[in-house]
């Protein structure tokens, strides 16, 4: 490790520790926003690990997330809670691998459509299953409080950052950077591009499923339309792009302002949220194609150039 790397790790650890102290100083409202921020940080950061370098836009977050909530919903009666999280992660990873093997050889557009359809498919299967079993929704009644959920999410965020950092330093990370730049070159350099993409896609799959499993107790009552809402997939994409996917810490820079913005929007215009979500998507793609990270970088480049001339 170089000195800057040690500094970065120390800074990240300090920020996470500070974030973990939120429940001690905040009221219930602020904590609920904290949970939302922590949740989207985990989802958007893991999403960007795969979609950032590969440029494959995945809309499957809701599918994995929903499966995670159902793992908790169905398993809480039979298994200890702490066992449900790794089970959800495993199911998410396996499903992501299957989806990846089936679709990642396709070009980008087909992948986007497929992942969007996947969430709908899983939702319909569960709805169908509920119809024939006569069961409507699921009650998740636990002693887990909002604070517990928040701490679990912060812990998961730490794990995601650690994973992202480890991948970035590994051969897998180097391979995915190469294939993100030029897949033809990657193949001819000897990289098994299909395997790299599948391996990397398993990360957001597992993480989103674990996130769903952690959040299930918060919903108390879960049904397919809540667990598999496509809004979740789109919000994750928007936040990650707003922050920028070029850096590991990029998405969180988008998550925080967008959560507050969204809080204001859904409070003021509760019936126009979908419309405004679409608008913000357009604004981000047109005005900030590389997110805040890209904006900061070009500002820094400009300053450097000016200093270079002076």
């Amino acid at each position: 490790m170089t000195r800057t790397e040690i500094q970065q790790v120390a800074l990240a650890a300090a920020l996470l520790a500070a974030a973990a102290c939120l429940p001690f100083v905040s009221d219930a409202y602020l904590l609920s926003i904290g949970v939302t921020i922590a949740m989207y940080t985990v989802l958007a950061t893991s999403w960007a690990l795969f979609s950032g370098p590969t440029h494959y836009i995945s809309l499957a977050t809701a599918a994995f997330f929903g499966i995670g909530t159902y793992v908790t919903g169905m398993g809480i009666e039979h298994l200890p809670y702490w066992l449900l999280l790794p089970i959800a992660g495993l199911i998410g990873a396996v499903l992501a691998a299957l989806v990846g093997i089936a679709t990642l050889r396709l070009s980008g557009v087909y992948f986007v459509i497929f992942t969007l359809g996947l969430a709908e498919l899983v939702r319909q299967i569960i709805t169908w299953f509920q119809n024939i079993s006569g069961q409507k929704g699921l009650y998740v009644l636990t002693a887990i409080t909002e604070e517990h959920i928040y701490w679990q999410l912060v812990g998961l965020a730490a794990l995601v950052f650690l994973t992202g950092w480890a991948i970035w330093r590994s051969r897998l990370g180097f391979a995915v950077r190469i294939l993100g730049d030029d897949e033809e070159v990657a193949r001819h350099a000897g990289i098994n591009t299909a395997r790299v993409k599948v391996l990397l896609f398993m990360v957001p799959g597992a993480v989103a499923a674990i996130t769903g499993a952690i959040l299930a107790p918060r919903y108390v009552y879960i049904e397919p339309s809540i667990a598999f809402t496509p809004m979740l997939s789109f919000q994750v994409v928007i936040m990650a792009l707003l922050g920028g996917t070029g850096r590991l810490w990029g998405p969180i820079v988008g998550v925080i302002p967008f959560t507050f913005l969204w809080e204001a929007i859904s409070g003021t215009f509760p019936n126009q949220t979908t419309l405004l979500l679409g608008l913000s998507f357009l604004v981000i793609v047109y005005l900030l194609p590389k997110g805040f990270v890209g904006l900061m970088q070009s500002a820094r480049n400009r300053v450097n150039r000016r200093e270079g001339f002076a």
């Binding site: 180097f174 730049d181 033809e184 350099a189 000897g190």
Partner: protein, 242 residues
Amino acid sequence: MTTVLSLRGATKRFGGLVAVNDLDFDVAEHEVLGLIGPNGSGKSTTLNLISGALRPTSGTISLRGSAISGLPAQDIARRGVARTFQLVRLLPSMNVLENVMAGAVFGHRRRWGHDAEAQAMRMLEKVGLERRAQAPVGQLTYIDTKRVELARTLAGEPKVLLLDEWLAGLNPTELEEGISLIRALRDEGRTIILVEHVMDAIRSLCDRCVVMSSGCKIAEGDTEAVLSDPEVIEAYLGTEDA
């Protein structure tokens, strides 16, 4: 001499068009083979068949006796075939050193960490770019981008090097540098297939040539003999009454 690479009946059809038709040739170890012919004669397609960018419709291509035709490009690269592209392809988000490391980390002989970096630096020295190691690739001149690409293919220590019009588009001074660079590779005893249009380069670099026209091999042999073959001259310049 041992045969490193051999093509037997290699054929590529695109619908009704036969781009490469029943091509046979061998490349011996330490040999520089020129693959020449007029535009559209199937040279680049042949190179794409060897590197795995395209699958042959029929026929076999083998590397040191084992068949590589039909394998995906990454497997062929790992077995020791490395190539440059007709239009230079670099990795735009990375600097010069990282571009070359891509070859060192994932090529025929795989390295990692300091070992890969040292190998990449050696390759940059070989092509004369060691001082630009940290430069972004966007700042390079045209010949320097070609040097980076060459260094990347060399970094994995391939058994066969495929150079697709590596000397095309260079100005006269650069061309001289380019030719002497490839001559240095030749003197190291590397096995190279050179697709090229620059006649001076072919004359001074190639031991033997395979000449293609309309997808077929029309001549093969020592460079001088092949280049004075009337059929070859006709393929390049057309017949008298045309």
